[in-house]
Symmetry: C2
Subunit: 392 residues, 2 copies
C-alpha cells in the first residue's frame, strides 16, 4: 500500500460536525441524518503536492488522488473521467454581449456527462470497502454512469428511473448489464423504490447522491480542474445547472480545501445556481431567505436533470450561493431549449437541456445587471444532448 496515495483521514457530518471513521461504509450521518463529508490531512497533502504537481500527470480526475478518498491505486475504477476541456466561447460571448465566457464541457466524460466523476469516485470507494451491489435512483445520466462503473468493477447495479425518461438512458444501463426499473413518477419516487429494494434484498448499498459521502468527492474535482486550467486563478462567476446540486456543493468544498492547501487565497467565484421554472425549490428558498428548501410540487421540466423536487443537500447549496455572493435564477423550458440551439450554432456543442439553461440564465443575468460584460464567467455544460435527442 502506498501511504501517500491519499490523505483521506475521516468522515465528518456537514451539519452536526460529528466525526466518523473512514473504514466503514456509511450513508447519511447516523446521528442527524445529514450528508457526511470526507476530510483530509491537508497539511500532509501540502507536503506531498503543490500546484505544479499535476501538469506532469496524466489528464483526468485521478491526477488529484492525494485529495480523493480512495486509498489504494488498485481500487480506482476508471474509464478516463475528468480532464474535460475548458473552451473559450468567443462566438457565444459576442452573441450575448460578453467578453470572457468559458464553457466547461462535461459531455466529454465517459457516459457523456459530469455524473461520471461522482460515480467513478463512489463506485471506487464502494469497491474498496468491499461492497459489490450498488443501487440508486436517477433522472438518467447518474444511472448510466453507475451502470458503467459497476460493470467495470464487476459489481451489480440496480437503477430506478422515471418511466418517461428517454429510451437511450434505459438502453445504456441495460447494455452495461444493470438491472433497471422504470417507475411511474419522479426521481423522488425512484428513491422510494430503491429504499424498498434494499429492504427486500440484502447486500445493496445506496449510492444516492449525498446519501453517501463520495460522489461529492468526485464532483469536487471540477473545481480543482477549473482552477488549474485558469492557471490557479479563479473566474468571477460560475453558472451551474442545479438538480441535486452535488457539483456546486463539491466545488465549494474544493475551494475551501484549496485555500487550506495554500493554492488559492480567500477569493471565490460567485456561485450562480440555475433551475427550471417548473422545478425551482432552490431559487424560491434563496429569494425567501430560507436556509432549507421546500420540495417543489408538481415538478415539471424538459430538463430532466433539473427535475429534482427536493435535494438532500439543499442547505449546503444555499449556503454556498450566499457565502459567495451568488444568485439563483429560474428559466423557462422555452428559454433553455433556445439556449441549446444558441450554444450549438455558435460553439458547436450539442448540449443536454441543462446546459442550455446556463445560456438562458446568462441572458437574464445580463439584463438584470447581475453579471457584467467583462467578467470572467464559466458555464457548466453538464452533459451532451445525444441521449435527449427525442426531446428536440
Amino acid at each position: 500500500m502506498n501511504e501517500n496515495f491519499s490523505t483521506f483521514h475521516h468522515l465528518e457530518c456537514a451539519s452536526c460536525g460529528q466525526r466518523f471513521a473512514k473504514t466503514e461504509p456509511l450513508n447519511l450521518c447516523p446521528l442527524c441524518h445529514q450528508p457526511l463529508f470526507a476530510r483530509y490531512d491537508l497539511e500532509r497533502a501540502a507536503q506531498l503536492i503543490d500546484r505544479s504537481s499535476f501538469a506532469k500527470r496524466e489528464s483526468g480526475l485521478w491526477r488529484f488522488h492525494e485529495i480523493l478518498p480512495i486509498e489504494r491505486p488498485e481500487n480506482v475504477i476508471s474509464l478516463g473521467e475528468g480532464g474535460t476541456p475548458l473552451v473559450k466561447a468567443n462566438r457565444l460571448a459576442a452573441e450575448l454581449g460578453f467578453n470572457n465566457l468559458y464553457l466547461k464541457d462535461e459531455s466529454l466524460n465517459p457516459t457523456g456527462s459530469f455524473k461520471a466523476r461522482g460515480l467513478s469516485a463512489a463506485v471506487s470507494k464502494a469497491f474498496e470497502l468491499g461492497i459489490r451491489k450498488v443501487a440508486l435512483p436517477t433522472a438518467g445520466n447518474a444511472g448510466g454512469a453507475a451502470a458503467a462503473y459497476a460493470a467495470k468493477a464487476g459489481m451489480k447495479a440496480f437503477v430506478a428511473m422515471p418511466a418517461d425518461t428517454p429510451a437511450p438512458f434505459l438502453i445504456e444501463c441495460e447494455q452495461c448489464g444493470a438491472e433497471v426499473e422504470r417507475i411511474d413518477g419522479l426521481i423522488s419516487d425512484c428513491a422510494k423504490r430503491v429504499a424498498e429494494k434494499m429492504r427486500q434484498e440484502s447486500g445493496w448499498f445506496d449510492l444516492s447522491t449525498l446519501k453517501e459521502p463520495y460522489r461529492v468527492e468526485g464532483k469536487k474535482t471540477m473545481a480543482y480542474e477549473l482552477t488549474e486550467q485558469f492557471g490557479w486563478s479563479l473566474p468571477d462567476a460560475i453558472i451551474y445547472p442545479t438538480g441535486g446540486g452535488t457539483g456546486l456543493i463539491g466545488m465549494w468544498k474544493a475551494f475551501h480545501e484549496m485555500e487550506q492547501l495554500g493554492w488559492i487565497g480567500k477569493e471565490r467565484p460567485r456561485m450562480i445556481s440555475v433551475q427550471a421554472e417548473g422545478c425551482a425549490p432552490i431559487v424560491e428558498a434563496f429569494i425567501q431567505g430560507h436556509e432549507k428548501a421546500t420540495p417543489a410540487k408538481n415538478a415539471q421540466t424538459i430538463a430532466l436533470g433539473l427535475r429534482v423536487p427536493g435535494a438532500v443537500g439543499d442547505f449546503l447549496i444555499l449556503r454556498a450561493i450566499r457565502e459567495s455572493g451568488g444568485e439563483a435564477v429560474a428559466v423557462s423550458d422555452d428559454a433553455l431549449m433556445q439556449g441549446v440551439r444558441t450554444l450549438g450554432s455558435t460553439e458547436g456543442i450539442f448540449a443536454a437541456p441543462e446546459g442550455g439553461a446556463t445560456v438562458a440564465a446568462l441572458q437574464t443575468l445580463k439584463e438584470t445587471g447581475i453579471l457584467h460584460e467583462n467578467e470572467r464567467i464559466v458555464l457548466f455544460i453538464t452533459g451532451g444532448g445525444a441521449k435527449y435527442a427525442e426531446l428536440f
Copy 2:
C-alpha cells in the same frame, strides 16, 4: 506567425507521387484523382520536438501541432478533441481468453466519436485557407462533427445523410446550425448529392474523407497518442472497424512518420480491419489478393459507420494491412451487437455497433489462431452508443 508551430511542407499524391503547394485548397490529386497526403519537414520537426515533449503539454490532439498541417495557432478550431483514454480491459480479456487487451475509447471525443479528430483538422485547415462553406456526405458521426466544428469556426455546413440514419444524428447537426438533407440511399448516394450541391451553388468545399488531405491528418493522431500512451512502444495488433478506413490509413502514415522522426523502430502493429458481413469490400479484396476493392452491392448492416460500399482509399487500406502482416475479417450483425453487450457488461463502455464489431472480430481471430492470448492488442471503440440507441 510562429514558424515553429507546424513543419507542414507540401502535398503529395499517395498514388502518382506528384507534389503540390500547400497554399491552395485541393481535393483529390489534380492529375490522377487519388488522395493527397500532407508531407512535413520531419528533420526540422525532430529538432523542434522529441518523444518527451508532449507529456508537459495540454492533453489532446493539438499537442502534436508540429506534425499537423495548421500553420497558425489562431486558426486551430478546437472543442477538446483527442487525448482519449487507453483502458486496460481485464474483464473483457478474461471473458475472451486474452491477457493484454486495451480499449482506445474514442467516444470521449467532442460529438462522441473519432470523427472529431479528422474534422477538427480539416475544418481548421479549411478555415486557414479562407474557406467558409463546407459540405460532406456522412453515415452519421462525421456529419455531427463537421456541423460542430463549422459552428465553432463560424462557417456554414451542408450535410447529406441516408434517410434511415437514426434521428439523433440529424438533430445534432441541426442544433449545431448545419443544413441537413436526408437522402434515400447509402453514403455513396449522399456523396452524389454533395457533388450536385456544389455544382448548383458556388463556394462550397468538399470535406469528404480522403477527397481532401486533412481529415486523415487529424485521424493519424490516434497512432501518435496510442504510442505515447504505451510509453513509445507499440502494441502487437490493432483491431480497427473499417468503413472509409481513414483512421487505419492515418495511423499507418503516422507510424512511418514516427520512424522517420526516430521515435520508433521498424516494428509495426498488425493492422486488422473489421467489416460487417453485409458490406465487406476490403475483406473480399484482401482474401482475393486484389490491390483495390470492388464496391459492395446491396450494402446492408446495422453498423452504419461500416455501411460504406466503396472507400476512396481502398488501396491504401489494403496496402497497410498487407505491409503489417495483418488481417481483414467480416462479422455478422448479430455478433457485433453481442459484442456491444459484452463490452458494456464487462468494461462499462456503451459503444456504437462498430465498436462491438472489434469484440466480435477478436473472438473469430482467437478461434482461428491468428491472435494469441498473450499478445498486446488494442480495440478501437470509434464512437459511443447513445446516438444509435434506437437500434438496440
